[in-house]
Amino acid sequence: MSSDFADLVDLSEGIVQRAAFTDPAVFAAEQERIFARAWMFLGHESQIPEPEDFFTSRMGTESVILARDRDGQIHALLNSCTHRGMKVCRHDHGKAKVFTCPYHGWSFSNDGRLAGVPGALVGVPHFDKAYRGELKREDWGLSRAPRIENYKGSIWASWDPDAPDFLDYLGDMRLYLDYALDARDGTPGASRVVAGVQKWRVNCNWKFAPENFIGDMYHDISHRSVDMVGIGPNGGQGRRANFRPRIAIGFPGRGHGLLGELPTTEPEEWNNAWALHPEVDEWYRAAHEKRLADLAGRPRVAMSVGTIFPNMSFHGRQPRTILVAHPISPTTTEIWRWCLEDVAAPQNVRDAAREYFLRYSGPGGMTESDDMENWAYATAASQGPIARRRPYNYHMGMGHARPAPGLSDAVECGEITEENARIFHGRWADFMRGQPWPIRLSHAAE
């Protein structure tokens, strides 16, 4: 194992060594090389609508405060006092002009206007008497993510000043993120998150989650029990009934991917996905028809699940959600789930969507609860010295990816494939080598 760990991934053989999922040294390196550099999702602006609102999020293993200042600007501040490291904020959300450390009382402004820079150290007890006025307060503000982006209400940040612009990082994955963030009738970004974030600990490596959501139709069999019950809001058997055929679409070099449809201009009948709730179904039908009419024949996409490298995944169809898999240890992950809804949706539409979300997703979800069992015991059984002699197998569909028509720097590889998982791990290797930038699009040919 070389020190950059990139050789744990061998795309020409279609294998990934288990150490990538279990080794503490790999995990430690991931924190520096991936989570201190990549763009990561922190939250949605609807969680902090007013000046001085904050929401406490995470970037990798670290707590980060997403704070809106007096002027409405959003900043990402590391939640660790520069004096002895105490968390300056132990609240999940709230309102604050300053964050005052409980330990020795240093206080930090969230406001760039008041203090010069957001996170600046503005209050030090005994500054005159004990520090004799000699402390250079301007050097001891909270660490602040140098890159932050509000994309249609979704807030992203990176600790790497040299990271490419967020839109370049996304590439044409943006079209699919739009599908999740736009209102059902296509109004750009007209969504918000429902109050409350599910957060739960799973004894698995964090990569199981993004790899699952990047386009793993193969694991559908693990959800047979819920399919037999049929929890979909169409009242039919399958939770995914009535969808048009989906394929795996991936973005080599960027590490993103999804299950969904290529850009199309074909007409599409509404599929009565909410037939169990006729009035709700009517609302969706009207939204669907308005979206198509407004597009006036321009291409559109649709998607079910996808992952934006490294650890943000989302569902673009109901139940519409955002997931982040936060690394805690090589074998522990804290998963956060947000639920998205249209700002303009009436109460009955919101109720039906939220209830579907709760019976589908999260630890209590009848679909997702089975994923957790698989990720946890896959992690557990991959750690032994004998188990680790065999790499994970990613052979499915190798060499069969084709350029995806209508998209830049994208490939498609049919419905059931491990192409997107290979794309994810290829990108992982770029980061572990310390060479994520510029984005290497030559991957597309590999």
């Binding site: 409350g196 029990s225 929890i231 209590g364 089975d370």
Partner: protein, 177 residues
């Protein structure tokens, strides 16, 4: 002085409701889910809000997410509860196959409101779940249950579960609380 009629009636009601809650826990621990469903009112709602860490100014109003409004751990009625039972019955719901061992400890039962056909009971619970070799969850909290009289017995109409965790320290929630 002998106890008053009213005090005796309150004692008997508490004993009756406590017995109901313990018998319900017994059915669930024994995985007799169909029998358990028979204890539910057709309009039953089970709600388990998410607890949050908040400053004193927000705590009273926002400590827990709201049923019927917000994201919850659980917020559902009979239809979904019955679907969960059917999923368990498939034998291929991997989160519960092999079956977990679950014991529910119910204590501190109190009658908070009583009307002839309706009671609101408070209790405390410990749910211990152990599965496979070494996986153990300990879910502890309080519950408020509304029961409606149905003939000789009672049916569960509302259940609110207040869990003492903000981050759930269990990989899934595939047991009934």
């Amino acid at each position: 002085m002998p106890p008053s009629e009213a005090a005796l009636a309150a004692l008997l009601l508490r004993a009756e409701i406590e017995e109901w809650l313990l018998a319900e826990a017994d059915l669930l621990d024994a995985r007799r889910y169909r029998d358990w469903l028979a204890l539910l009112h057709p309009e039953v709602r089970v709600a388990m809000p998410i607890a949050r860490n908040l400053a004193p100014a927000l705590l009273a109003r926002e400590e827990r997410t709201r049923a019927g409004q917000d994201v919850m751990w659980v917020d559902e009625g009979f239809r979904t509860l019955e679907q969960r039972v059917r999923q368990l019955e498939t034998g291929i719901h991997w989160a519960e196959e092999p079956a977990s061992r679950v014991t529910r400890l119910i204590s501190g039962v109190r009658i908070l409101e009583a009307a002839p056909d309706r009671v609101l009971a408070g209790c405390r619970f410990i749910l211990h779940r152990n599965r496979l070799e070494d996986e153990t969850d300990l879910l502890i909290g309080r519950r408020r249950d509304t029961l409606l009289r149905a003939g000789e017995g009672w049916l569960l109409h509302r259940r609110e579960v207040l869990l003492d965790q903000s981050v759930l320290h269990a990989k899934n929630l595939t047991t009934f609380l």
